[in-house]
Symmetry: C2
Subunit: 200 residues, 2 copies
């Protein structure tokens, strides 16, 4: 019972952090601004997290577990799961909240070379996300959806780097069509080539 | 004569900005710190640039023109020019100065949604860099190096997004091998496929 309550509070703090980051960005984020978005007491916030850094490190892990749950919840063949993964990067460009979040995350990422904890958690997140994509490709090979000579790790690395680059470039130059254009090119030059063609 | 002197001073200011950005990063950069790296007078710095923002906008253009000169100076067939373009992203991971510069630029890029001038100059830079790569592919098609059905704009977009994403991820998680791994995948899944195979 107590654990349920604690994990509910944790989730509420993460949602408050999400809202505060979207509204204020990374640079001017304070524990007070997160507390303002949190419906429970400021004391409870500080009971859970000693510092902004500790809270943001937990937030990186929270986004990762949200992502993992999202991908795991897709029922369907591996090629549809891959489509869904790519769509997540494209959708960012379409809602103001997601744009604001990813801009805040870009600022946080730019600090990570000077912050061991951010860097460690981002590196862990990078490995897990790449593994998720590689596993989708691997499952697709087993199920005959993707070609047997496709290399899961290499494809995963290329998909993730190109979509992340597209999102960053789109966000920073204010071009909402960027991730869409890159995903089109990614399908044409990479994904369509590893799909097993069936005669319909 | 006066124009030569002015453009020499401009180049010296840009080099001072480069050094100051590498040493101090973006967030703590001041006109004073740039002036400290500039051998001539602080008055001359302020005569050329009213504000840090104006100076950094000129610096974005300076990096772009350096890049254009670099690529234009490569004597060789289009596929070698493309190799050289990709190598520029990989090399970033190998020298501390380039790493520091690109981290500073990442911070600056994260500010661009809130700064019209940064955004405009970054958008212009993005278009020009993509055009340079698309032109390399286009020339390669004309010269029979790349396949006639390769689409210059789509390939350019994919190359640029994936290498930019690889650089950002490598820098932020401290993995120097990232751009190399993504460039390997890019060759295997995209560039080798558009190369015209010749019987040697």
């Amino acid at each position: 019972m107590e654990n349920d309550e604690q994990s509910e509070t944790h989730a509420e703090i993460m949602e408050a952090t999400y809202r505060a980051l979207c509204e204020h960005g990374y640079a001017s984020l304070t524990m007070q601004k997160i507390s303002d978005e949190f419906e429970k007491s400021k004391g409870l916030l500080h009971y859970h997290f000693d510092s902004k850094e500790e809270l943001l490190t937990a937030f990186i892990d929270y986004l990762l577990s949200e992502f993992e749950q999202d991908i795991a919840s897709i029922e369907g063949p591996p090629d549809e799961k891959l489509d869904e993964f790519i769509k997540r990067f494209v959708v960012v460009s379409n809602t103001d909240d997601r744009k604001a979040l990813h801009l805040a995350l870009l600022e946080l990422r730019a600090q990570s070379p000077f912050n061991d904890r951010f860097r460690d958690h981002l590196a862990r997140s990078d490995t897990i996300v790449r593994d998720v994509v590689a596993e989708i490709i691997d499952d697709g090979i087993t199920q005959g959806v993707f070609r047997a000579d496709a290399e899961p790790e290499a494809v995963a690395q290329l998909v993730l780097a190109s979509m992340d680059g597209a999102r960053t470039r789109g966000l920073t130059i204010g071009d909402e069509t960027y991730p869409d254009a890159v995903s089109d090119a990614l399908y044409e030059y990479v994904i369509d080539d590893i799909l097993v063609k069936t005669n319909e």
